[in-house]
């Protein structure tokens, strides 16, 4: 019945209690603990029946309700136990909490309505000015124009030309394609071998990088396989090509 519909809708024990109070048309101030406790426990039982996980918060509330109910039956020595550190609280405290929670639940409803209203007025979809908040790329190019783009390219190319001239003077060029061919040959002849042996003392960082790229490419082409036993361990390079004459001689 009604339970089924609402089972997983409750935001917490307070939400559930407020719902029960509404259902019974009871005022928070006039809360009848024994009656509400019974209903609350029925709810928890239903939840368990439906294999819904009953969160700890719900159980703590059940304990609270039971304790308040029990105290009501005892003579008035409650002050002594009231502030006991069992995590449970008194009837006054329960009422205070229900009232506070209901205030925020109601105002949350107002806020939701305000946000919906706000959605019915539209801002401009993007701005041409900087923003004050975190950067949003609503207008990802700022005020750049196509002219800015072309002049940026001209600028990059001009720098490139200058740099290239400088490089040609001092540079020697490494050709990756050549390096791949070289390594294929060396590996075929000396397989298996260490990656380190593909380099020599004169090798620059660039040489290392190119050699590594060449090896990766050869692996991709299936010409060689590499193995590394452990991280930072030596890399073993093995050629997949049949060995030349020397092999037969052995």
């Amino acid at each position: 019945m009604d339970y089924r519909v609402h089972l997983d809708v409750f935001e917490g024990p307070l939400d559930l209690l407020l719902h029960l109070l509404d259902q019974e048309k009871l005022d928070i101030w006039d809360i009848e603990i024994s009656r509400i406790t019974e209903q609350y426990l029925v709810y928890l039982a239903t939840m368990q029946e439906h294999d819904l996980e009953v969160a700890g918060d719900f159980l703590v509330m059940a304990a609270t309700l039971l304790q308040i109910k029990a105290r009501a039956l005892l003579p008035e020595d409650e002050e002594a136990v009231d502030e006991a550190d069992d995590g449970l609280y008194s009837r006054d405290e329960l009422i205070r909490r229900l009232i506070t929670y209901r205030q925020y639940r109601e105002v949350a409803e107002r806020l939701k309505h305000m946000a919906e209203e706000r959605l019915s007025v539209l801002p401009r979809p993007f701005s041409s000015l900087g923003e004050t908040g975190p950067i949003k790329y609503t207008n990802p190019i700022g005020n750049a124009t196509v002219q800015d783009l072309t002049s940026a390219l001209v600028n990059a190319l001009t720098n490139w030309t200058v740099r290239k001239q400088v490089q040609t003077i001092k540079g020697r060029e490494i050709n990756l394609q050549e390096r791949i061919g070289e390594i294929a040959l060396v590996a075929q002849r000396h397989s298996p071998m260490f990656f380190g042996d593909l380099l020599d003392r004169k090798s620059t960082r660039t040489d290392v990088v190119f050699t590594f790229l060449a090896v990766l490419e050869l692996v991709r082409q299936g010409i060689i396989v590499v193995r590394q036993e452990k991280i930072f361990g030596p890399i073993i390079v093995k050629s997949q090509l049949p060995k030349e004459e020397s092999n037969h001689g052995a």
Binding site: P13, E32, R91, Y104, E106, V107, A108, S120, S128, E131
Partner: protein
């Protein structure tokens, strides 16, 4: 500069801005006093109110912004407000309400009011930029303090936090019944 030109500049700046523009910023560009600028903005807002206009000038989140008018909604069904999708769960909405009214507030205080864990709701709100951290409380554990962000005001169309609707009143009449034990 004359009011006509000043007004044109205000309109252009507000139009071109993605977020509401504070009056101080506007005043500094046109070189007017903030108070005078406000009057000019009020005049501008009045001009937009006329029936032949589809947009409006409003004061939101501490600044001025242009938006389409409320009554234009039916004709703008094809358009969506960018970025703001309120789709908040009830839990997130309640948590946001508590933060908005009680800020700066700790997660524990929120949990105390709602009676359930607040982690997930607080994370959602942080992710959406509706709330932000406000340092730490000087109490044991030094819990993080939470408050609403400028984006919160913007999303909910509030000029300042003072414009939050008042919390519903607590009825005091039957207060004595607290002392009754049922």
């Amino acid at each position: 500069m004359g009011p006509k030109k000043a007004k044109a500049i205000l309109e252009a700046i507000i139009f071109a801005s993605a977020a509401p523009v504070p009056v101080a910023n506007l005043a500094s560009v046109i070189g007017w006093e903030p108070a005078q600028t406000e009057l000019l903005l009020a005049e501008l807002a009045r001009e937009y109110q006329c029936a032949g206009r589809g947009i409006q000038l409003s004061f939101v989140a501490g600044g001025y912004e242009l938006t389409t008018k409320q009554e234009m909604k039916p004709y703008l069904q094809a358009f969506q407000r960018p970025e703001i999708s309120i789709g908040l769960s009830q839990a997130a909405l309640e948590t946001l309400a508590i933060i908005a009214y009680k800020q700066p507030v700790t997660k524990i205080e929120i949990e105390d009011i709602r009676g359930v864990r607040a982690d997930s709701a607080v994370n959602t709100l942080l992710e959406r930029g509706l709330i932000e951290e406000r340092g730490r409380q000087d109490t044991p554990g030094r819990p993080i303090l939470l408050g609403t962000s400028p984006k919160f005001l913007e999303c909910f169309g509030l000029a300042t936090l003072a414009d939050l609707p008042p919390l519903p009143k607590i009825r005091e009449s039957s207060r004595q019944s607290i002392n009754d034990i049922s």
